[in-house]
């Protein structure tokens, strides 16, 4: 399945251009570990992500790299609309050498944690936030074949 990617405008502030990759959708699902309602209790919020190949052909993903780096998570306070980004881990590119082949319908899981101090940056009490999750993995480009952007999105709600 081929999707037309959206061209990203040249930034005056940053002065940067971004190549247009082929978007390859993946499915990402999230569960709050031992906490089906995703209630923030003042401690760490443990998450389990399941990434599934929804393509008709096999794909390769650097599972260990993704598990170490984590997804992008944006927490938005529903009342004030203030957003904060949950930090990802610093990339360890050595882990990209180990690619896992996912057949159509095949999945892998990884865990992530939102720390209590990250919730403290949201203004409203009790916590009432939406969490937007984005998983991105860029592969290829230059001599390594066409540039591809493996992209999955999901969201969930967090209350207190």
């Amino acid at each position: 399945m081929r999707h037309h990617s959206v061209a990203i405008a040249l930034l005056l502030v940053c002065g940067l251009a971004f190549a247009e990759p082929e978007i390859v959708p993946v499915k990402i699902a999230v569960e709050c570990v031992a906490n089906p309602q995703c209630v923030f209790d003042g401690g760490n919020m443990r998450l389990e992500f399941t990434v599934t190949n929804i393509q008709a052909e096999s794909i390769s993903m650097p599972v260990a790299y993704i598990a170490r780096r984590g997804p992008f998570i944006k927490l938005t306070d529903k009342k004030t609309k203030r957003s904060i980004n949950v930090k990802t881990g610093i990339p360890d590119y050595a882990l990209r050498s180990a690619m896992t082949i996912l057949q159509p319908g095949e999945s892998f899981k990884f865990h992530w944690t939102i720390s209590p101090y990250e919730f403290e940056e949201l203004p409203s009490r009790p916590i009432d936030a939406s969490a937007a999750v984005t998983l991105i993995d860029m592969q290829g480009g230059d001599d390594a074949g066409p540039l591809r952007k493996y992209l999955g999105r999901t969201s969930f709600q967090i209350t207190q």
């Binding site: 990203i8 971004f18 990802t88 610093i90 990339p91 940056e121």
Partner: protein
């Protein structure tokens, strides 16, 4: 004796007649910075850098940075950067047991090894153009980074994270977990695990001093621009593209196990020393960073 008794330096008359008549001439020499100063730092991260998202707008940097600087031309000829940390075992859930203190304390050595990365790396060059005393028009001092491990206060409510740290109180808690997916720094907290290595410790220590990540850590593409000691903005640091170890732009803040640094990684120190001296001496002082290795 009042200031009126003092003549400005270089304006004294030295004719032979005056020399025969006078017994002493009091000369007003601007105070040279030969006194030690110190300051608790409490600043928004935006004092040191600005982050921008794809649409060009600036992202709110609401995190606060706390550390202490010692300016010691007299006692050590160094600028000392101090971060006070209190070590605690972290609990993955509110009902689980925290990591045993002896294990958490064992990570102090790893975090201190991270300082070896930063020490002997930067000097600070201080200029005092209005000082007529040649001793202190320009001076170069070593920047020394250190961690002080403290136990106080036991209760967090006695340590107001919205203000500069009180003497003897910690700047940040260091929470050590058995195992956690990532290390991170937030308001008043440094989170690591038993798996944290020296490289990561050096990277996270930099965050405690207001140095940002230089890799894509958020999905809306952006760049980061450091504030220079002279107040202008540095060139944008690209956050759209991952920087592999082989990239010339890769460094300690962008790529794991890449140890390259740049003077911008000590600009937060230069900004604070500059501010401190300008305030203490009542005249403009400028600082810049020299990278040694």
């Amino acid at each position: 004796m009042t200031k009126q008794n003092f003549k400005p330096i270089a304006s004294s008359i030295t004719s032979p007649r005056d020399n025969r008549q006078r017994k002493e001439v009091l000369v007003d020499v601007p105070a040279c910075w030969d006194e030690d100063y110190e300051k608790e730092i409490y600043a928004r991260a935006s004092k040191y850098y600005h982050k921008y998202v794809l649409d060009g707008t600036e992202q709110d940097q609401h995190r606060h940075i706390r550390f202490k600087i010692y300016f010691q031309p007299k006692s050590s000829n160094k600028v000392i950067v101090e971060v006070r940390l209190r070590t605690e075992g972290g609990s993955m859930t509110i009902t689980s047991e925290p990591l045993a203190m002896y294990q958490a304390l064992g990570m102090q050595e790893v975090v201190e090894q991270g300082l070896d990365f930063w020490n002997k790396r930067f000097n600070i060059k201080i200029a005092d153009p209005e000082c007529k005393d040649s001793r202190c028009r320009s001076k170069v001092m070593e920047i020394e980074y250190r961690i002080v491990w403290i136990d106080m206060p036991v209760k967090d409510e006695f340590n107001d994270l919205q203000k500069p740290a009180k003497p003897g109180f910690y700047h940040s808690k260091m929470l050590v977990y058995q195992d956690k997916e990532r290390e991170s720094v937030g308001n008043g907290v440094l989170e690591i695990s038993l798996n944290t290595n020296t490289y990561i410790a050096a990277h996270e220590y930099a965050h405690l001093l207001g140095i940002p990540d230089e890799y894509p850590d958020e999905d809306d593409g952006k760049c980061v621009r450091y504030v220079k000691p002279n107040g202008s903005m540095d060139a944008p640091i690209d956050l759209l593209v991952h920087k592999q170890k082989s990239s010339k732009d890769a460094g300690v803040m962008s790529t794991q196990y890449k140890f390259a640094t740049a003077p911008r990684h000590a600009w937060s120190i230069a900004i604070e020393v500059q501010e401190l001296l300008t305030s203490k001496l009542g005249r403009p002082i400028t600082c810049d960073i020299i990278q040694l290795r």
